[in-house]
Structure formats: structure tokens, C-alpha cells
Symmetry: C2
Subunit: 352 residues, 2 copies
Amino acid sequence: MNVTGHTTGEPASRTSRSVSIRDVAAAAGVSYQTVSRVINQSPRVKQSTRQLVLAAIEDLGFRPNRAARTLAGGPIGSVTVLTPNTTLYGYACTLNGIEEAARAAGFAVGIRVLESDAEEAITDAVARAIEPGTALIVIAHDRIGARALAAVPPGVPLAAYVETPVGDEAGGPPRVWIDDRKAAYDATRYLLGLGHTTVHYVAIPSSTEASQRTAGWRMALEEAGGPVPEPVQGGWHPRSGYEAGRVLAGDPSVTAVLCGNDDLAVGVIRAMHEAGRPIPASVSVVGFDDMPQSEFLTPALTTVRLDFTQLGRACFALVGPFLDPRGEPVPPAPLPQPELIVRESAGPAPSR
Amino acid sequence: MNVTGHTTGEPASRTSRSVSIRDVAAAAGVSYQTVSRVINQSPRVKQSTRQLVLAAIEDLGFRPNRAARTLAGGPIGSVTVLTPNTTLYGYACTLNGIEEAARAAGFAVGIRVLESDAEEAITDAVARAIEPGTALIVIAHDRIGARALAAVPPGVPLAAYVETPVGDEAGGPPRVWIDDRKAAYDATRYLLGLGHTTVHYVAIPSSTEASQRTAGWRMALEEAGGPVPEPVQGGWHPRSGYEAGRVLAGDPSVTAVLCGNDDLAVGVIRAMHEAGRPIPASVSVVGFDDMPQSEFLTPALTTVRLDFTQLGRACFALVGPFLDPRGEPVPPAPLPQPELIVRESAGPAPSR
DNA sequence: CTGAAAGCGCTTACAG
DNA sequence: CTGAAAGCGCTTACAG
């Protein structure tokens, strides 16, 4: 009952033929090549004839045909985003930032989700994402994204959002990252500073064995000379945080838990609650992301704010050099710095 | 420090010329028209020559050029999604469902966010979203989306996700909706059944003055003969729920609050908590959506589950008739039914 | 500064 | 069942 059908019986109908540069040329009394020059911001057009053409474009409601432009070898006019996910907070915001920047620069954005981690599915997704006239942005912060990034052949206009690289920062495609290591280091130090003997870590999936968030957490622990517990590998969702939390809750020596994202923290907190361990009196929990909900939870979540929208904008800026030099210039975007937001879910270590 | 630059100095480089149907034709020893027939599933090709061509395609790694296909008047090969948002849970899931279904059917998906509600911005967004060879899907569940939908000229291959229509369900573009009215009605009845004298409503933005969720809530209230308080107009985010909650918390007659989404419910619950009104002992709160976090909150959120991913798939299925009849058939997708998930945030009305 | 040419990679008719 | 033609709407050279 909640769907209405088509009113016409014509399948696969096409919009009526739209106005072309020839129509514009005729209206303006010039050749169509001149129209092409005008829409491509060529400087080699007399000011007065430019006005004539512009007026005709306006009158006729002309819009250049993207397919024709691409086919004729025009400049890149779109970006497609290859991502393992569109609904998780960080991915959704990154996509949003890319779309916003792309739209501002006059570019279309395509999206393709990397659903499976089968090798063939990944190479197929990459192959389909590569099209003449479009640049590629890969969200490669986890394993599947990283594998897709690795599968992009050379020569493709490309940028990526990656995990903090370990060493070899030069070479490869242009990319941005958040300083995961420092963020985790800072959050861990904060908890240690609250008097906790050690900090447990529930990790989100990583693109590498040696995740840089894990590295930052470990570094802080080692510096402080505290014990370094085995990190718990979690997924992305609250449920896996909950499962990790149930295990952790049973261990009385656990008094502080750092979580790879806020969703995990929500799950850990729930598990602690069910186990009768009050937050933060018995256990302190810190997340990553600062989702819109986090500040309104009870207890309000102490978390590391990560500005993914800004990161998305920065990512788009990276493909700027590949794009039409005559379009809207793409300003380099400043990269966001992670910021610890102190709220209610972490407190002093319980006295023994 | 967290960005690496380009390694080559060549701006706007293009991928090296890829293999065309002529290359395939040469390799297979046929004319390029025959190759065209093969890739378009034409039945008028001898089985043996089809095999020849297919083998050549495989060998050469041929992929048809989308721009050329579109320009030559081939079938629709992509959908672009026009949406007011990509990061809110419902929108993100709907987009995800569309992308998933589109990918399965072999279609590219584009996305364009309706950022501003200025008339010009909307018509401009619509105009840019309409391109030869692409169908349009408009997420029109709120005012800005509905205005964009209204601005789509006739003749464009189009489908939409809309609010439950009031009466005139026939005519117009094909569209899907969730039964908002019944869902709100059911949730309100549930609260009433718990002994609450009335139920307050904090609404999400709607595409119409007379939102059907509001109508369902009102209908349940009127049926029960209880008082019908003025609905509170909220936004999408927890903060506006929090603000509404602060006002509601001050009114002792408020014992049950229905919220237009889970984010709003999170904000209301926080406000109640701060005002010293325990949930659900003093106030019951019910949300809409059932986000992944909701079941792990404390109290776990009682909410109406809305399957937006399925809705997205159903929405894509609606553009099926416009698409290439020779591609993967797009099966009609069943529409999700809202389902009340009873958890901890609603309980019996407090005794007076 | 402006016009006429050639061609991008395909797809539909149209012939055989 | 298969081939040769014309053209989709643009863009880059090339001429003037």
C-alpha cells in the first residue's frame, strides 16, 4: 500500500533533446566553437562576444552535456568515492565533506561501496570506479579500503584518506590522515593522569596489523611504565563494544577503557552498567569521534573529537591539481586536529 | 604533517587510452557493431561469435565507455540521489540501500546534497542532477527534499522516498513511503496502554504542515479521549531534543514523550535526567528509527524500528522500469513495516 | 580573436 | 545473423 506506480507506460524514456552549443551559437550569432571557448573560460574571446554568448546561454537554459565533454577529452568533472561504508559516523561525515567541497567546485560526485572483501570484488569495484573524466577518492582507513587503494593502477587521478602512515610518508598517491597515534597517546595519557594504573584498549578494525592508534596507546602506557594489556579487537558497532565490555567487566583490575570509536564506548558502558560497575566511579571510558549523541548520553561521553567533515574537504582538495584548471579553484583545506573533549565518562581511578 | 603531495608534476593527466570496441572487434575478427550487440545482450548474434567476442573482451579487459554510451543514446546507466543530508541515520541508511541495489543491478550512483533551502539553490541542484543517461531519486521526506521533488520537470526518469501521502496517492512520480501515521499511532497507543493520561510529541521536521506522524499520534490521543498537547517542533539532532526536553521536564504533567527520532529521544532523556526525572519511573520516552546505539543506551531505548536500508532498495526498484531492459532485472523490493521495539525507556505511568 | 575540421567511443537504425 | 553509415555534443588542435 505504500508505493505508487508509474503513470506512463513508456519504459526507459529519455528527456527531450536539450539545447546544445549549436543552439546557443545560433542564438548568439557566433560559431559553436566560440561557445565552447566561453563555457571553458578561454581568455581568447572578445569581451563583447562573451557577453552575447553568456546571454544566449542564460536565455536558452543551456547546460553542457557532461557525457559529451568527457568523451571529447574535456577536463575531469567528477569524483567517485570508493568507501567500505556510508552509514558509520566517520565514513558518512567524510563523504559529506567530500560532497560539499566537490559541489562547491562544480563537480559531480559518485559513490561506490566496497561491500565484500573478496579480492575479486575489490578489483572489480576499483575497475568500475575508474572512468574517463572522473577522479577517484578512496576511503582507506580500514583493511578493505586499503586493499582497494592498493589495487588502483598508476595514472588514475587519485587521493585517499588513510590511517597514519608508519614511516614511508613520501611517494604513493596524495593522501590525508588524522594523527591517530597522537590522539590515542593523548587520550591514554589523560586516563593515566587520572590515576589509573593502566588503560585497556578496545580497537576498531585497522588497515594494518600495527594500527597507529594502538601504537599511540601503547606508547603512552610504556612511557608511564604501567602494564600493557592485550588490546581487544572490536568491530565498528556498539554490539562488539558490548561484547568486549562484558569480558572486561569481569576483571576487577580494569578501571579505564579507551575505545576506538564512540559506538564501541556505548557498548562497553552498557556492559559495565549491567555488571554493576558504575561509570566513572568504577570504570572510566573514553571514546573516539564525538558523535552528535555523545555529549547527551548519561554519562556524557569523554571522547576524542575527530572532524571527519573537514577531513573530507581536505581529501577533495587533494584531487584539485587533477581537475579543470579553469573551474573553481580548490583551496587547500586545513587538516583537523584531534581534540580530547572531557565530559563525564572518565574520572579518577577508584581507590583500592 | 598529515598530508602528502603529488609525486608527478603533471596536472589533470588522463588515464592512458583504454581498449575500445574496435580493439575487441579486431581481436575477435568481427565488426565493432557486433561487439556492441554482444555487450548489449542483443539476441541477434550467433552463439559462436558471441563466445569469440566475450573471450576477446575478457582478454583485453574491455569495459564500455560510459560517456560514449550515454552520448550515443544508450540506456540509462546511473542514478543520482538528491538528498538533504547524508549523515543522519535515516538518510545514510536509505542512501546505502539505494547504492546496494544499484550496484547489484550494475548501475553507478551519484549523490548531490541539497544544502540550502533557497529556491534558487534547489532548482539549481535539481537542474544539475538531471543528466542524460541518469535517473533521479529524491529523498523527499522533509520540506527541502519535497521542494526539490516538486521542482523536477516532467519526463525525467524519477522515483522518490516521501512522507506518507495524505490522500491523493495516485499520479505523480513513483514513490515509496513508510507508514508514518500508523507507526506513530501504534507507539502512542502503546504509551497510553501503559496508563499515561496523554503523550507529548517532539517532532522531526516534516515536508508538510500536517505531518502524518503527528496525525497518527493525534489520532491515538483523540481515540483515547485524552488531552492533546501542542506538539513540540524539534530538529534532527540530540541538541534540539535536549532543548525540548528541558521545557517538558518542567511540566509535572508530562509523563510520556514520543520523539520523531532516536537522536531527539537521547536529548530528551538527558534533559529529564538533569532535571531529576528518572526514566522511565517519572517519564517514559519512545523514539523512532532504532539506531544501532539505541539498544545499548541506559535506559535501552524503546523505539519504532524503521528499516531505511530496505526502503532505499525499494526506492531503487521503482526506477527499474526506466532502466536498461537488458541489464540485471530489478526485482520489486518489499517495503519495510515499522515495528515497535519495547525496551527500557518506557514504563507504567507514575502513580499520583 | 574567431571559424572550419576531425574525432572521442559508442548506439541506433538501415542494409544485406 | 552481420556489416557499413550517421550521429550523439562536445573538445582540442589547426587555420586564418
